[in-house]
């Protein structure tokens, strides 16, 4: 299991757990919850922010927030 910011571009993963105390509720409302599929689409320079596809939704979050989301990568396509 790794944190979300360690994914490679194009890699897919399943969200395993989230640090509920720090993460804003809004992120959970936008679909960042355990069990959902997430993939990293693009990175801005310095790997921050991250452009994600989370369960059909496309959104960008900052690296420090991505560190609070643990994921389990799957597949290598």
């Amino acid at each position: 299991m790794i944190s979300l910011d360690q994914l490679a571009i194009g890699q897919k993963a399943i969200i395993e757990s989230i640090e509920t105390d720090v993460l804003p509720l809004k992120l959970i409302e936008m679909g960042c919850l355990p069990g959902n599929e997430v993939s990293l689409l693009y990175l801005a320079p310095f790997r921050d922010p991250l452009y994600l596809k989370v369960d059909e939704a496309h959104l960008a979050i900052r690296k420090e927030v991505a560190r609070c989301i643990m994921v389990k990568p799957f597949g290598d396509d």
């Binding site: 355990p34 693009y42 310095f46 369960d55 959104l59």
Partner: protein
């Protein structure tokens, strides 16, 4: 007898909710503010059928009822307050067909408030392209309401929505979700304490920090049992609620919503590959920015010249038509020129917001936010500060209002504080006349020095904004994580109607917000310039005719001399002379002092004031320029030499000379502290920079 019903449009941002609103109401809409706060309130009306008229309220976009911004609080407050005049008889939740799952979260929350709720699935024209199929019957059965497929682009579904709205009483209002599944013991005891209340409403009253009707708040506050729950425990319950809701939604959509990805064509990734490329992305952004500025300059110069001359003529005409007297002079010189000072900015503001609105409508703005976030964060700003900083080149007022969607308070505050450094259009006339006076009209490698100076001043504005942001960033401490979520919407062609309405709205709010203040100050300045204490002011004509008794001069020349002498001895003239010692080290005399003071109404007043002081007959730029070019100091040297000119430009670049901006900052930050800090620190910076410049260059 016509039946009136209240309809509220609710939905996530980027779902085309505003397009639905525009489709329903057309031009029958009004934009105002919610009482006491600066959240925009959009209302319109629409005939549903022969006997029914709907008052439609377009609520601010929100992802859920768990409010995290002022805009979102407005939604919760309204939906919980049955006594509110705008309380909806029926709610329309607008969703985007591609993000249906996430959009349904808000829908289930609204439905649980026991308000009749209709679901509109917008952008349904995208379904074949994205390979989406929806089983409407199943969806209606699962969600226990009417579901309407709509495409505002192809104008389908609107009539159907109207029919459903007319028959809103038939809609089922039972809640979809049972809060006791979140935490049985907590919610059961809550229900026991308030047996007649809806559980979800109670829950919202407890968790939402909004102004409810006194009664409801009182009820919950009384029961100590629910207050004792810690904030983090409540947050946990909210998270659990969200997860539970998503589980229900997943179950619903499994049967009714299918996506066949093979049929999907992907415009998004193609455009994203280019537009957020780590080099090309920035190159493209700066190219777009430059073209926008170029276009605004080119396109607005013609209407601006026209407005300028029209108002001058109107002022002249009024003087001739109305009976002579104090009031006529006030109307012609104070009110009309004040109005002109507002109207002249409309072309630039309208064009700028047209471009910004197109960039936002297409989905490109989110990509810019993504590209710029990291760079701007170093200075304590956010990627979302880009829009305010660009808007600031038209006017700081809409720019300050555009900071509202920055989540992080510190980043938002810093953006508000530094935005007035960007070169707003009111500085332009001042720069123009000073540049033409002191910068040589020569070319260097084919580049015109005057144009180069103007561009330099624009860059200087941005640079100063960034620089002061990073200083503020060092001073302000925050305990909060820099929380930042941006949705990356699909690329879309902008709808002309939406762009036009945004332009209208922004221009309108500029005229009403800043316009009234500028107008009021213009009137007061007129009084200060038209009256003065003591004999000098009252006997101006005699004094002048005595002074120049030996010389023969034309009548207008004599009148101009009198006007100039009057101004010198008026209240504002006295004020100008009072500040003269203070600004002498900057290279300015008391006449410039008067212009500086009157610039607090609006900076561009500078030129007009100098025209009056130098008793130039008409507001003709050419003649003012010549007159300014001739003005001498007491030692016989030119007043407007390079040193004074550059020092003045820099003073105008940095000084906070805009009362309307101060007023809006006070409103947005809800404190006098921040506008006061802005006023003093910016003015001090301006003073020091102008001082150093003059002393070096002189």
């Amino acid at each position: 007898m016509i039946n009136n019903i209240n309809v509220a449009l609710i939905g996530n941002p980027n779902t085309g909710k505003t397009s639905v609103f525009n489709a329903l109401t057309g031009l029958n809409q009004k934009v105002g503010n919610y009482p006491g706060i600066t959240v925009e309130k959009k209302q319109g009306s629409c005939r549903l059928d022969r006997g029914t008229k709907a008052r439609i309220l377009d609520l601010p976009g929100t992802y859920s009822l768990n409010a995290s911004s002022m805009d979102e609080s407005v939604v919760v407050e309204l939906l919980l307050n049955k006594n509110d005049l705008d309380f909806p008889d029926v709610a329309v939740v607008v969703t985007d067909v591609e993000n249906l799952k996430r959009n349904l979260l808000l829908f289930t929350q609204i439905k649980d408030l026991e308000i009749p709720t209709v679901l509109v699935i917008n952008m349904s024209d995208q379904m074949p392209r994205k390979g989406i199929k929806i089983d409407l019957e199943k969806l209606e059965e699962q969600l226990q309401t009417r579901v309407i497929l709509m495409s505002t682009r192809q104008k389908t579904g609107i009539d159907q929505l109207k029919q459903v709205l007319v028959a809103y009483r038939k809609l089922n209002t039972t809640p979809l979700f049972d809060p006791t599944t979140i935490d049985e013991s907590y919610f059961e005891s809550l229900q026991k304490a308030f047996p007649n209340q809806s559980l979800y409403k109670l829950w919202l009253v407890i968790t939402q920090d909004v102004n409810f009707t006194k009664l409801e708040r009182q009820k919950v506050a009384d029961s100590t049992e629910f207050k004792t729950q810690s904030k983090s425990y409540l947050k946990k319950l909210q998270q659990r609620e969200t997860i539970k809701r998503y589980q229900t939604i997943n179950k619903t959509l499994k049967e009714a919503y299918t996506v066949n990805r093979e049929e999907a064509t992907d415009l998004r990734s193609k455009l994203d590959n280019l537009l957020i490329h780590k080099y090309w992305g920035y190159v493209i952004f700066f190219m777009i920015l430059l073209s926008i500025f170029q276009a605004i300059f080119d396109w607005s110069s013609i209407p601006m010249d026209f407005i300028d001359s029209s108002f001058a003529q109107l002022s002249e005409w009024t003087k001739q038509q109305l009976p002579p007297g104090v009031f006529t002079d006030l109307i012609a010189e104070g009110v009309i020129s004040g109005l002109g000072g507002i109207v002249i900015f409309i072309p630039q503001i309208a064009f700028l917001f047209m471009f910004i609105s197109i960039l936002e409508e297409t989905g490109y703005m989110s990509r810019v936010v993504f590209l710029m976030d990291r760079g701007l964060r170093k200075f304590g700003l956010s990627g979302k500060s880009v829009v305010p900083l660009i808007s600031g080149t038209a006017c700081a007022i809409p720019a300050v209002m555009a900071t509202r969607n920055i989540e992080n308070w510190k980043e938002r505050l810093i953006t508000i504080l530094v935005v007035p450094f960007t070169t707003c259009s009111a500085r332009l006339p001042v720069y123009m006349i000073l540049i033409s006076l002191v910068i040589p009209d020569d070319r260097f490698l084919g580049i015109n020095y005057q144009g180069l100076t103007l561009m330099g001043l624009y860059f200087l504005g941005f640079l100063m904004a960034i620089l002061s942001a990073s200083i503020l960033n060092g001073f302000m401490k925050t305990r909060y994580k820099s929380y930042f979520v941006v949705e990356m919407p699909n690329y879309k062609l902008p709808l002309l109607k939406n762009v036009a309405l945004t332009v209208w709205e922004k221009t309108h709010s500029f005229v009403t917000e800043a316009g009234k203040i500028i107008l009021a100050i213009s009137v007061l300045l007129w009084f200060m310039a038209s009256f003065g204490p003591g004999k000098n002011f009252a006997n101006a004509e005699e004094i002048i005719s005595q002074q120049y008794a030996s010389q023969s001069m034309s009548k207008t020349e004599f009148e101009n001399k009198v006007a100039s002498f009057r101004l010198e001895n008026s209240y504002i003239g006295i004020l100008g002379k009072t500040v003269a010692p203070l600004i002498r080290p900057l290279g300015y005399d008391w006449k410039i002092g008067i212009a500086l003071i009157s610039s607090f109404a609006a900076r561009e007043v500078f030129v007009g004031t100098l025209a009056t002081i130098y008793s130039v007959e008409q507001d003709e730029t050419e003649t003012i320029k010549k007159r300014m070019g001739r003005e001498l100091r007491s030692d016989g040297t030119l007043l407007f030499n390079t040193a004074t000119g550059v020092s003045l430009m820099l003073f105008y670049a940095f000084a906070m000379q805009c009362m309307s901006t101060l007023a809006i900052v006070k409103k947005e930050t809800n404190s006098w502290k921040w506008p006061a800090i802005q006023l003093f620190s910016m003015s001090i910076i301006a003073y020091i920079v102008a001082l150093i410049t003059y002393q070096i260059l002189k």
